[in-house]
């Protein structure tokens, strides 16, 4: 793992055990996200891009199961394999080191809690010590350092897991703590360019428009300053003008917060405008990874080429890719794109091509560029 890579997915295999059969959703996926870059994960339905991102957070829902491979996440102490992490470490990682935002923002916000409640929940889970210390400082500054409230905070700081503390903290007033958290929430909402954050804090999800809800979701994801942000098609359901605003926001996040972003989409326009590097997925495999200029300028894999050609162009019309995405139950042998590929050779039917570096920093899995015999 190089110095720069912050998340590396190596040879990931994920299966879904359904009544209809075993769906081999991911078949040896290799993706690496570098520090401070925006990596675009492009693919159609069934390509496995959402499953890949869920695997990084170990959130793959049953009947899905991770069957092989490793996901290395860079930590201060070196790298750690997510698949081998304990539940506690995973819980600490989610939300704090790696956060995720989703496609339909209102589905991921709890309709019975206000915006403020939801963002403060995330914050309190991961940054509680910090807030307690701040609250104590404020109390001491106002010369109320020996009140019941302050003592409660001290107890909570010292031994957060004791039964006594857990009981007390449900009963006691925590005004100072709450006001500290509220200030942070307003700050984070402002950083996602929400106008009038104090008013939005008190709103419920159904009162928000699509763009606002997505910003709130991004704010929730950023609440604990994660190093990695995974965005699963966050702008697909939004209007194109709102999408432009959110894309701009994501660019700002990269600049100001230095986050690394894994951006999943099927829209090649968004990829071209936003991403630094691109990984193209098809039917459970990554077929090509390269710099964004390389992918658009000189695509190597036939699927990437066909995808670029199918973008509607007023002068040239639209060229479609014949056939449909193959089923993933009892998947076909060899390269999964072979039935729709205009360059298919005999070896493509038998063995799957391996992922090779065809140019510096440019990887493709295709027998046109060599490969194992």
């Amino acid at each position: 793992m190089s110095l720069e890579t912050i998340v590396e997915v190596k040879d990931l295999k994920v299966n879904f055990y359904t009544y209809a059969g075993v769906v081999e959703a991911l078949d040896g996926v290799n993706v690496s996200l570098r520090e401070g870059e925006i990596l675009g994960l492009v693919g159609e339905t069934g390509s496995g891009k959402s499953v890949t991102s869920l695997s990084v957070m170990m959130l793959v829902p049953p009947p899905g199961r991770i069957e092989g491979g490793a996901i290395y996440v860079k930590k201060d102490s070196g790298q750690e394999d997510v698949l081998l992490m304990s539940d506690d470490s995973l819980r600490n990682m989610r939300g704090a080191d790696i956060s995720m935002i989703f496609q339909e923002p209102r589905a991921y916000l709890n309709p019975v809690y206000t915006v403020e409640d939801q963002i403060s929940e995330v914050m309190l889970v991961h940054r509680k010590q910090e807030f307690l210390k701040n609250a104590l400082d404020v109390l001491e500054k106002n010369r109320r350092g020996s009140t019941v409230e302050a003592n409660t905070y001290r107890r909570m700081l010292k031994n957060p897991r004791s039964l006594g503390v857990r009981f007390i903290q449900k009963l006691s007033l925590k005004k100072t703590l709450k006001s500290e958290v509220r200030k942070e929430v307003a700050k984070v909402l402002k950083s996602v360019e929400i106008p009038d954050p104090e008013r939005v804090c008190r709103m419920y999800p159904h009162e928000l428009s699509g763009g606002m809800a997505q910003r709130v979701l991004i704010a929730m994801a950023l609440a604990c300053n994660p190093k990695v942000l995974i965005a699963d098609e966050p702008t697909t359901n939004l209007d194109v003008t709102v999408q432009a605003q959110i894309l701009n926001l994501i660019r700002l996040l990269k600049k100001d917060f230095k986050s690394s972003i894994l951006y999943i989409t099927h829209d090649l326009g968004v990829v071209a405008q936003l991403c630094d590097r691109v990984a193209v997925m098809y039917a459970g495999n990554v077929v090509e990874t390269a710099d964004v200029f390389e992918i658009f300028g000189s695509p190597y894999h036939p699927y990437t080429r066909a995808l670029l050609e199918s973008i509607p162009n007023p002068e040239k019309g639209f060229k479609s890719i014949p056939g449909i995405v193959p089923g993933l139950i009892n998947p076909i042998s060899g390269c999964r794109f072979r039935d729709r590929c205009s360059y298919a050779m005999e070896i493509c039917q038998k063995v799957k091509p391996s992922f090779l570096e065809v140019k510096k920093g440019h990887f493709a899995a295709c027998y046109l560029y060599g490969g194992s015999q």
Binding site: T18, Y19, A20, P63
Partner: protein, 372 residues
Amino acid sequence: MTMRSRFEELKVSMRPRVKEWKFMFLRIRKNSLALAGLIIVLFFAAIAMLAPVLAPPPPGSLDSFKIPNDPEIHVLTPNPTPPTLRHIFGTTDQQYDLYYACIWGTLTAFRTGLTVVGISLIVGLLVGTLAAYYGGMLDEVLMRFTDIIIAFPGLILAMALVIAFPAKIPINLSMLFVVMFALVSFVLLALRPSKKLLLVVQALLVLSLLSILYYPLTYDLNLSRLDKVLISITLVGWPGYTRVIRGEVLRVKNEDYIEASRASGSTDFGTIVKHIWPNTVYPILIVATLDIGSIVLSAAALSFIGIGAEPDFADWGQIIQRSRAWMSRPEQLIGNLHTFLIPGMFITSFVMGWNLLGDALRDVLDPTLRRR
């Protein structure tokens, strides 16, 4: 395209549905509780169908549901006798044969359950669909009426109705037909079906109006006590189905394919029959299956209180009612356990079988679990 005979055509068109049913049965087979429920229900169904063979009515009896008393012992001992070779389950007081009662009681139980559920389903389907599909004032009125009935405690209202129903109801058939055809034509006017159907109904309406004036038809409806129980439970039970169906229809009503059906030119009636009902029927089947058990239980409860079937009618609740007199003191109780335990076990296993089946159906037909 080869020429296909009609039969082949049918086979091909049913193939995907058959595949779905096979899938469902596979799931039932895998769930052992469900299988148990199915076996219990089938077992009771077999008993009911084979009742004349298993417990042949005594020669010369006019009504097979009348439990025979054993003539020899009857006069000598009015007390219940425990099981002997002659009376396999024993007898209850007045020497009524328990075995006969339980076997024919199965038939009565099925009759009770299926009739009540059947009629409630039909009424609930009509009222619920109309209320949900048309909404507005019609929905409000129908639902308030339904709510009024639900507001009453069910069993108590059923008791009151059973007592209040006269045994003999003289019905003015002509008036009934007038009301019926008037209602039907109103409903049809709303749904706008083919002209022919409407004409036929209106012709019948006119005919019945004429018959009132010139040749009124009357009919004296004789209600047996069991019939009164069935009617009362139906009257109390139909609002439950209405609510379930209304909820389902509301959910389906806003789907795109309903609007697409309207865009294709379907009438309201066509849309309801072809699209709404097939998509809403599954939860209702589940409710109905679970309900059969509780309806039989309610009927047995009414009989136990004494307002149910006639004294010598073959009905489980009725038989248990007879044993009430023999349960007051401990020494009496122990000797006469068979008088209520055996029919009680019949009731328990019958209800449990249906409940298990209903649960199984719910698991099998739950759409979120289906395709995983």
